[in-house]
């Protein structure tokens, strides 16, 4: 297998999914055999901890550490949930993983289940991912048939079930406690923490939630070892990363590259640079809820700590590129409209503040900007800070806005002073 691209190197060029036989031919389910054949759950957790695998959903929390939060004496049933909601605007990485190599996800989940002593897994998949849903369902059926799922897996005494749940659609479902409520058949409002899901999660039982890309890495770590995984990376965070670029670049797309590849390399070598006739202005490194970065940050390695040092977050690692022919105020207005629409209405800074900000920005775009608007916007971003809200939606909404106010302040002022959008 292309050793440097474990997640995608084996995918079929014709766009079809690897079936079980094809997945096994490239080493599939060997990690599971190895774990069930002689590793204790604690040893699996230690290996994942040592690999420096950090959560690929955006928060970047250590996966091994997360798994260790389920107390050894915790009651059963325990659950594992794969977060495949992928509703973060500008993000298109988990779609590829579920459509093209669903067994990789299934194996990762069984390993997560074994490590945390869990009984049941749910794959929470975006409802719009119809092709992915069909392929995951087929992979699950094949895995049951082969004895990788169900009772007494590979005669190890360990039993684990996986069910597929297709979302009915709402950004809040991607927030982990919102997702648990959705799986319980409720509105996907966030829950107060503590208690945290490893103690009291789905149906009040211990629950471990990981992003799809995170789980897909696990079979490779167990099969090839933590040192190998760390060696794939150019940074302290282990492994490869699915990086993407969308916007007016020559070749928008998705690439599996060493963790820590610089923004410039992704943008220039892989995405082919900007389209003819447009110039780079800035980017959101990993989805709608990350702060803008600009020219001076292009040599930043894309990993969790370095992007944070530059003042943003790597988030999902799929970059959205802003060019000089696109209005930065319009872009932020589009983003805040999204957050306002998807807010669940649970806490005041979010439901009230987001709607207000959406109206101010729309007004600016339509030539109704007022002196004082920028102060109001800045005030709101502070009002949405972590700690003021139940979940990360409003703090996430603050990120592109607060950074746009910093880097594109002149353009905001121009909208207000000229009473029009200069790009229209």
């Amino acid at each position: 297998m292309p050793e440097d691209r474990p997640l995608t190197g084996n995918m079929r060029p014709d766009g079809e999914a690897l079936d079980r036989a094809a997945y096994e031919r490239v080493g599939g389910y060997k990690g599971l055999r190895k774990a069930l054949g002689g590793m204790t759950p604690a040893a699996v957790i230690d290996e994942v901890k040592a690999s420096n695998l950090r959560g690929r959903g955006g928060a970047g929390f250590s996966t091994g550490l997360k798994w260790s939060f389920v107390p050894a004496t915790a009651p059963h049933p325990r659950y594992v949930v794969a977060n495949g909601d992928e509703m973060e605007p500008g993000t298109f990485k988990d779609r590829l993983l579920v459509e093209r190599d669903p067994h990789q996800l299934v194996e990762g989940m069984i390993l997560a289940g074994y490590a945390t002593g869990s009984d049941t897994g749910y794959i929470f998949l975006r409802g719009e991912y119809k092709l992915g849903a069909r392929r995951v369902a087929r992979a699950l059926a094949e895995a049951y048939e082969a004895g990788y799922l169900g009772k007494d897996i590979l005669h190890s005494g360990y039993s684990f079930e996986i069910h597929l749940h297709l979302s009915a659609g709402r950004y809040m479902c991607g927030e982990e406690t919102g997702m648990l409520n959705a799986l319980e058949g409720k509105r996907a409002n966030p829950r107060a923490k503590p208690p945290f899901p490893p103690v009291s999660g789905l149906f009040g039982m211990p629950t471990t939630i990981n992003n799809v890309e995170t789980l897909c890495n696990v079979p490779h770590i167990i099969r090839n070892g933590a040192a190998w995984f760390q060696g794939l990376s150019r940074s302290k965070d282990g492994g490869t990363k699915l990086y993407g670029a969308s916007g007016k670049v020559k070749r928008p797309g998705l690439w599996e590259l060493p963790m820590g590849t610089t923004i410039r390399e992704i943008l220039e070598e892989h995405a082919g640079g900007m389209r003819d006739g447009v110039r780079f202005r800035g980017l959101l490194p990993g989805g709608a809820s990350t702060d803008f970065l600009v020219e001076e940050h292009l040599d930043t390695p894309m990993d969790f700590s370095e992007v944070q040092k530059a003042g943003s977050r790597m988030g999902t690692g799929t970059m959205i590129i802003l060019d000089d022919q696109t209005c930065p105020v319009g872009m932020v207005s589009n983003l805040e409209h999204f957050f306002a629409q998807e807010s669940c209405g649970w806490c005041t800074p979010c439901w009230s503040g987001l709607g207000w900000v959406e109206r101010i920005l729309k007004g600016m775009e339509e030539g109704r900007g007022q002196p004082g608007d920028l102060e109001k916007l800045a005030f709101q971003t502070r009002f949405w800070a972590p700690g003021h809200t139940f979940c990360a939606l409003a703090p996430g909404a603050a990120e592109p806005l607060q950074s746009a106010l910093k880097y594109f302040r002149a353009e905001f002022e121009q909208h207000i002073n000229e009473k029009r959008c200069p790009w229209k």
């Binding site: 719009e128 009915a168 928008p252 589009n334």
Partner: protein
């Protein structure tokens, strides 16, 4: 009354969850698949099987973007209105669709053929602008391509 088919499909979900209430989102999706949308009667039918009131189900249904409490057309157009599609001229595709179909976002054409719904990022941003019609995703939209694609949905 649930049809035998609807009932069987919902009951097939029961073993996947520890209680019936948790099945309600799947159940509503199943009934919507057969009936196009979720009327009060549909919720009543589902509620009887799951032991839930219409109000409970309505509370859940109204939270989710893909559960419809009003009738929709034979085909539903889900047009991405999120950021990457917006950068790639998504608004032009939206105005083209509105003009071509003679509807505003959220409305159904007079002949009941199409409902136009803006949706959140469809996870195909490298091929923006993007829309789904029913179960199919269509990429790299232009007004000309949209016209050709619509022909395929009588």
């Amino acid at each position: 009354m649930l049809t035998p088919e609807e009932r069987a499909e919902i009951e097939a979900e029961f073993p996947h969850y520890p209680n019936r209430k948790a099945v309600c989102i799947d159940a509503m999706k199943i009934v919507q698949k057969h009936r196009g949308w979720l009327s009060d009667d549909a919720l009543k039918d589902i509620g009887e099987l799951l032991g839930m009131s219409v109000a409970d189900l309505d509370g859940v249904a109204t939270f989710y973007n893909l559960l419809f409490r009003r009738p929709v057309g034979r085909h539903v157009i889900y047009l991405c209105d999120s950021v990457s599609c917006w950068i790639m001229d998504g608004e032009r595709q939206c105005s083209h669709l509105k003009e071509r179909l003679g509807v505003e976002a959220g409305e159904t054409t007079a002949d009941g053929r199409f409902t136009l719904l803006p949706v959140v990022c469809l996870g195909a941003c490298d091929r923006a602008p993007v829309m789904m019609i029913d179960d199919d995703t269509h990429f790299d939209l232009t007004p000309e391509r949209i016209d050709q694609i619509l022909e395929r949905y009588p």
